[in-house]
Symmetry: D2
């Protein structure tokens, strides 16, 4: 089974630039993490955006949408910032016949302590086991974007309504 | 959904004891890793054994079997050494009505680079999504113990025959 | 021998706040690092400022100056942002009878890969071995603030002139 | 200033081999750590032994002695297991005109939490600042091998007598 992984930026990918004294979205860490996980699943990784998810606009979401539709694989993981992960998830719900799992992290993968590796593991399992549809995999739970929101204070996602 | 996590030892849990200049199975790191993952899934963790899996005997497997049957939860993760993970998996296949996922790691969770966090993420997603049965979740793949073996040279599991 | 450690902020102490999607100066990591180093040297740690060093003004430097003069210890380590570490070093050169070592890091101590622990080790050795005076200990070298500048491009310090 | 670093094995260098389910002395991590520290000090690293220090015999100590005498540099760091670091230190005290600093760690450098990076930082500063002689740099303190012993229970060195 081949999985296509699209990275769009977000906290997951942040690295620290001393020259600017700030964290910025850097090259994606996904490849490094998958090596660390010693996985032999065929994954094709494409870095299509490098933005904080608050900076994603309509064109960016259209790009993500298009890249998923064009991908030969029907198992798709999208690495995404958490602030608008729900919006992108809802936007992607029109796509048929593909299992799409959005994930990200609250702490950069480069930190000693981070939820990135755990969330990536969840997403890799979920994208193989779930039927076609759009899902958010964060902190060990699987959400339907249509009924989910980010609870900023708790640094978690939760079901609405 | 409540998940019961049983830890039995193995590489996953190894810590380094300077006094003996060797790595030994220590207190389990599962709780620490789940905090790092910031999960809000209700997990109950029990440390039932602290052994290298090569040292597990019939009585140990009977104990694991019994603990799973007695657990009120029907979603069970077993943290287990990789060398005999397949044997224990086969041994547990008689249990009905429960989803049992065995996982572990090739590198101790305490190392800077380890597959432990990724495998734990996979197991947490898999145990929620899979039907009743016994599974091995390692390096991003889900195996049926009845047709799996460890490839020691590759540090991976693979499907037999 | 008792060492007084004053923390003023800087990259060394940065932690990631998801809520603001940025790194900010957090509680100091020095205590945690010294425990990890298993040191039994008597160190008294005071957090006197929590700022990027570019934001330090005359009053802040006056505060650092005063805290060093008032400290009963005559071996002082100052954890400081790198951008104006030289300026603060020059400012402190009037203090007599004390060995003052400024250090910091180019990557936050909380990252998987960071120079913080190494620089702290250098500073702890240097503050014990050097005569009274003001020094900068970074990336394994000991500098005199009066003839040093930060080379931003190289992320290193270098001797001027 | 050029520093010669000789690695002899010990906990500092231990890596985990899944195939044998044990930690063994691996390739040295010193080069990796010095890169992480971003140091520009000229260091020449030679791996001359790969042993637990309890396994070092007279011939091994003669080899270390010879390699130090033959090195063109007069600033020498020896990475060494802690159990017999004192013995090797005493053995080297005949060498004249060189500053020799022995260091190592109680936890492997590859662990998430380790004293290796801190001790290496101490050793790099100490070897530049100390007069000719033999020293042990561990957990932030500088010892004279002739009056030092390892306190196994405390995982520290201490002054005898």
């Amino acid at each position: 089974m081949k999985i296509r992984i699209l990275t769009t930026g977000g906290t997951f990918n942040k690295v620290y630039f001393d020259a600017k004294s700030e964290f910025q979205v850097g090259a994606t860490q996904v490849e490094e993490l998958l090596q660390e996980a010693n996985t032999d699943i065929e994954c094709e990784i494409s870095s299509i955006l490098r933005k904080d998810s608050l900076d994603l606009g309509d064109e960016d979401r259209a790009l993500i949408h298009r890249k998923i539709e064009q991908a030969p694989a029907d198992r798709i993981i999208v690495i995404h910032g958490t602030d608008t992960m729900v919006d992108t998830g809802v936007h992607l719900q029109g796509i048929e016949g593909k299992t799409i799992v959005l994930t990200g992290s609250m702490q950069p993968a480069r930190l000693r302590k981070s939820d990135a590796m755990f969330n990536l593991g969840c997403a890799v399992a979920a994208v193989q086991l779930l039927d076609a549809g759009v899902y958010i995999a964060m902190h060990g739970r699987i959400f339907d974007p249509a009924s989910t929101r980010k609870n900023v204070k708790e640094s978690r996602f939760e079901v609405t309504g």
